[in-house]
């Protein structure tokens, strides 16, 4: 295999790991409580602005931005749960859709008001430009984003499947009444899920901000990608989001290289349609 092809696949995997991370919050919330968070893209957008703010205020690199974004968006997630989601869950599906969609619009236009409509970018130098390793060229920001994306998505999966708190969260998602008989407070677990999803989403935003423009409407673009990744991988499955993210990343870079950058989205969506055609529940979703 030619070196350039390896290069393309590696960049695809790095990108895919970030897709996985910013989709994992969406899939976690769905898995926990069957709610689609239409404000998810705007959570990512605010994570990106957190990174921009940290850089403007402190001049700090992504290492300062990541924990700040994680905390801010986790708080936003928990607040959204207690002030909005908890109440609209009692209503019909339409109320949930309109409720979180309303939250999305609120956050988006709050960002317009506060940050302005101009695109913001972080300087490349923050994460050390690029370097050559084993004949492959890497951009520091993308390597960092890819590695953290992979690490944090796996961590989320680990928490859900291997820890006592994860087991309680899954218990609430399967049967909230039975969970109460175990002494578990369903609302606490659901708030925790929103906090965890928020943290993961905020981190994803802070990482993406290093190589992607930040604007109040960037959430729309990213949300579509997150919805594709999540339905590709199977709604509710963090591991599914990881696998789907990696596949989408690689397919995207391969088709950009082999066919042309203009067609990369076409190929991704064709693949997406095929997967849903033959496996409507997604790669790892439950029937």
């Amino acid at each position: 295999m030619s070196l350039i092809l390896v290069q393309v696949i590696v960049s695809g995997l790095l990108l895919g790991a970030v897709y996985a991370l910013f989709s994992s919050g969406l899939t976690l919330i769905w898995g926990m409580m069957n709610v689609v968070n239409f404000a998810h893209g705007d959570f990512v957008m605010l994570g990106m602005y957190s990174a921009v703010m940290v850089w403007t205020a402190l001049g700090g690199g992504p290492f300062a931005a990541v924990p700040v974004a994680a905390m801010l968006i986790a708080t936003l997630g928990v607040l959204s749960y207690f002030m909005l989601v908890r109440h609209i869950m009692k209503g019909p599906m339409l109320a949930q859709i309109l409720g979180t969609f309303g939250l999305a619009l609120f956050l988006r236009y709050a960002a317009f008001w506060y940050f302005g409509a101009n695109f913001k970018t972080l300087p490349d130098t923050l994460v050390g430009g690029s370097f050559v390793f084993m004949g492959l060229r890497f951009e520091g920001s993308r390597v960092l984003a890819g590695a953290m994306g992979l690490g944090i998505t796996l961590l989320l999966h680990f928490i859900l499947t291997r820890t006592a708190i994860g087991s309680r969260m899954l218990a609430v998602s399967e049967d909230a009444t039975a969970a109460q008989l175990m002494g578990i407070r369903p609302q606490r677990m659901q708030a925790l899920a929103w906090g965890m999803a928020g943290a993961a989403t905020g981190i994803a935003g802070a990482l993406i901000a290093n190589f992607f423009y930040t604007s109040p409407t960037v959430g729309e673009t990213l949300a579509i990608l997150a919805f594709v990744t999540v339905s590709f991988g199977g709604f509710g499955s963090v591991l599914g989001a990881l696998v789907a993210g990696l596949i989408i990343g690689v397919v995207e870079s391969l088709s950009a290289y082999l066919i042309g950058p203009v067609y990369k989205d076409v190929i991704v969506y064709i693949l997406f349609v095929l997967v849903l055609w033959f496996r409507p529940q997604g790669l790892m979703g439950k029937t």
Partner: protein, 238 residues
């Protein structure tokens, strides 16, 4: 004898429907009490109301001297009252051991878990064999054992059992009731809802009979077993 649980004039409504109209009963500490009645008499509703997963609309539920009616289920189980519910309601996606560990959530002292797990595995050796299997893949008898085992993991003073014999093979039912007797000997108080009168009256010391949501008859298990009214009128048997 001290009364561990006392229910007075319990009423439970599901919207406009009445699940239980007027139930009163007492469970002395250290006893086994049976709740009898045909399908739809209100046994499950009564147990669910005690455990806090059905809303009490009237009356009181006093446990260890405290009125727990209206408290949320997650608070009630922490007071030492565990329910093995109708339909088991296991966490089917998770392993047998995870289900048991979830049952231990109310414990303040996590250090007690290994000993409690050991006790449950001693009562139900089958569960030890299936430790890592997903709960959803088990047979009916095994699920019943797991539901009871899970309730025991919170070290309750009072165990509420909803139809533990339902749908099980006779051999498994015998094993199950043997283990209830063993738990009773250890000092556990049990309130048992059963459709199978003979089983319940053999295991219990005292029994209440429910009919359309009301307690209509009560007495020591022995006299109830000999009472033709119980069999004929209230339980629909000839």
């Amino acid at each position: 004898m001290t009364v561990l649980l006392k229910i007075e004039h319990l009423e439970v409504k599901y919207g406009d429907l009445i699940g239980v109209a007027d139930v009163s009963l007492e469970v002395p500490k250290g006893s086994v009490v049976a709740l009898l009645g045909s399908n739809g008499a209100g046994k499950t509703t009564t147990l669910n109301a005690i455990a806090g997963i059905a809303a009490v609309s009237k009356g009181s539920v006093t446990f260890s001297g405290e009125n727990i009616a209206g408290q949320p289920a997650y608070a009630i189980v922490r007071k030492g009252l565990a329910l093995s519910p109708e339909g088991w309601r296991l966490f089917t996606q998770q392993s047998v051991e995870n289900n048991l560990m979830l049952g231990a959530t109310p414990l303040g002292d996590r250090g007690r878990i290994p000993r409690l797990l050991e006790r449950v595995y001693a009562v139900f050796p089958r569960l030890a064999e299936r430790r890592l299997q997903r709960a959803g893949t088990m047979s009916g008898g095994e699920r019943q054992m797991l539901a009871v085992g899970r309730a025991l993991m919170s070290e309750p003073q009072l165990l509420l059992l909803d139809e533990p014999s339902l749908g099980l093979a006779p051999a498994i039912v015998d094993t199950m009731y043997d283990s209830f007797a063993a738990l009773h000997k250890e000092g556990l108080t049990i309130l048992l809802a059963e459709q199978s009168v003979d089983l319940a009256l053999e295991a219990a010391e005292y029994a209440y009979v429910l009919q359309v949501g009301r307690t209509v008859l009560e007495g020591p298990a022995q006299t109830m077993a000999d009472n033709p009214d119980v069999q004929r009128i209230y339980l629909g048997m000839e």
